[in-house]
């Protein structure tokens, strides 16, 4: 009997242990070290505390570039990757169910492709020669070939947002679809009886009831936007002209691994966390997430 109560008491801990161990080793410990390293000059064998020196060095030209790219990229991806999937989700949800599954798979497929592969394909498609696929299509409609990758900030941003849209549309679509499917059909029927047209039904029923999903997608998009790295790396291999593709994580990578300053990289990691955290809180406030429901 005693042993039974013992197992009852111990068992829960045994079950959560794998998670706890993983969390401690792979999350809490690295976070702790990151905070520690942000106060250090990290050099093999001679690591020393340097107080706030790293923090005093945060703002430089690279940082401002990374911040600008991060904000624009995040804004654009949210501006595209929230409304567009909603529209597609509504369309898919109303269509024939069997076709729906095929379409859903089609939209979802790109997110299964690794960024490295997708980035390489995009880089080749958007190469600046007039033989590359996009430029040769442009030529067909009478537009001069564009230097996409090296041409400047607008083209660079276009490429990154384009790649993000292609990859993430399907994922967000699934979120919104499941959100839509949880909206009771009766609401629409009632509204229809009351004479609401489709636009009204969308604005008054679909959107408000999708709000939790929209909040969720926006929150992960803020993080995803600022944490973007691979897409840019695939286009420019970490060195873009005039920093047109430098993101916060790109900057962290540059300082930490390309320039061997892991202390500074840790500091940027914390700054990134702060930015994302602040924006997420602001956004949640804006959506009224913290308000008590009446």
């Amino acid at each position: 009997m005693k042993s039974l109560t013992n197992t009852m008491r111990v068992a829960p801990y045994v079950f959560v242990a794998p998670f706890l161990v993983a969390f401690l080793c792979f999350y809490l410990y690295p976070i702790g070290t990151t905070v520690l390293m942000s106060f250090q000059n990290v050099v093999p064998g001679q690591t020393s505390f340097i107080g706030l020196t790293n923090y005093a060095r945060i703002v430089d030209a690279d940082f401002l570039d990374a911040l600008r790219v991060g904000f624009i990229y995040t804004f654009l991806t949210i501006a595209i990757l929230v409304p567009l999937p909603i529209v597609f989700a509504v369309l898919l949800n109303s269509g024939a169910k069997r076709l729906n599954a095929v379409h859903r798979a089609m939209f979802f497929l790109p997110s299964l492709v690794s960024v490295v592969v997708a980035g390489t394909v995009f880089r080749l498609m958007f190469a600046s020669t007039d033989k590359a696929i996009i430029n040769s299509l442009l030529k067909l409609v009478g537009i001069n070939p564009v230097d996409w990758i090296m041409g400047g900030a607008p083209q660079a941003m276009f490429l990154m947002v384009m790649l993000a849209t292609w990859r993430w549309l399907g994922v967000n679509l699934i979120y919104f679809l499941s959100g839509l499917q949880s909206i009771p059909e009766e609401l629409y029927e009632a509204a229809e009886m009351d004479g609401a047209n489709p636009v009204q039904r969308f604005m008054r029923i679909t959107l408000p009831l999708l709000k939790p999903t929209i909040i969720f997608v926006t929150t992960i998009s803020i993080f995803g936007g600022f944490a973007m790295f691979e897409e840019s790396y695939m286009f420019w291999q970490g060195l873009s002209p005039n920093n047109v593709g430098l993101t916060m994580v790109g900057l962290l990578f540059k300082r930490g691994f390309q320039q061997g300053d892991l202390g500074m990289a840790s500091t940027y990691g914390l700054v990134l966390m702060l930015i994302v955290f602040t924006l997420s809180i602001l956004q949640l406030k804006l959506f009224g997430f913290f308000k008590k429901e009446d």
């Binding site: 050099v43 093999p44 060095r57 430089d60 690279d62 090296m150 390309q258």
Partner: protein
Amino acid sequence: MKRILSLALALVILPALAFSQTKTDLNLWTFNELHAQYYNSAVVAWNAANPTKQINLKAEVFPYDDMHNKLLIALQSGKGAPDIADIEISKFPNYLKGNIGLVPLDDLLNPIRKQFVQARLDIYGKDGKTYGICFHVGAAVMYYNMDMMKAAGVDIDKIDTWDDWVKAGLQVKAKIGKPMTTVETTDQWSYWPLISQQKSDYTDKNGNVTIDNDVNTKTLQFLHDLIYVQKIAVVAPGGFHHSEQYYGFMNDGGAATIWMPMWYMGRFTDYMPDLKGKMAIRPLPRWTKGGNRSAGMGGTGTAVTKQSKNIDLAKAFLVYAKGSKEANIQIWKQLGFDPVRWDVWSDPAMNEPNKFTAFFQNPNIFQTLLQVKDEIVPVNVNDRMVKVIDQIRSKTFVQVLGDNSKTAAVALKEAAAEAKK
């Protein structure tokens, strides 16, 4: 019975183990497939020459950034580093910080030091110790397209100074309407050799940033003027001389000349086959009378790590594979690099026909090198250099040469300020 059995087993197994251990495993990391092939051939030669010190070399090739990052982490954490690693010059300072994770090679290098182009050993040193051995001098030279020179009526052997070269460029433009050359905006080989020729650099010996000094500013302005004033140069298609687009452009006779280090020869033979038989190599023009006609550019410092279990063997093999006379001849034959030991340059073996001698018009490529052997000054390799390179490659060149949005003076001042942070 059991004891006897185990004894018998031990008697059988031990000698077998001992025998199999006569070949020592050495791991090597590199970022270049050709380098790996070279090391694999070097180890065959080593094993033939050293029957008592057999090596089983495992050369692994990683992507450039990957390999350097992995190595940095391995040295920082004290675990997982290979015995030997290729480290590219612009990354080398990262590995000389703190307790250096690499082994000094001086004891083996000192007896043969005099035969090396001194500048090429200095660049991998710190506090009087040498930690890496290079593949090549990387002597910067001018490659001329002789068909175009003939069409424009230019005699390249009369070009002595950059002024002469610019005049020839104007002649080329007037006669055949093609640009004299191309200039890189996202890499540094159009710029670094030119300032190194004038004994200037990104940083000074003590690691202070000097990228905005007068010589450097004037030189960048010179490149700018080639494009926008004399209009005899264009920005390299694709932004640098290693882009697919540039290869295609140059292969089709897009520009009449290009200045790059000697190791660029291989790019001609591999990526611009239509230029076969048309190109000639000469030293760079001088800036002033009696000035230097070349500069040592780029490089791969191969080093032995402290984590190696066989440091002495790894060192011996490395010095053999990159420092011995035979090896230096092989480096030319297999890789087409201008080897770091100048005493092999006049060796008859260097004149044996190969794909490089067949490609270029020079009857004796190394004659060109011997002329400029004493006109190469070392570049200063340090932490700040890494930062300067990052700045000028990502911003300065694009702004001054690419979109012409800033003057050389302003852009270099900004780069210097950033690199000092």
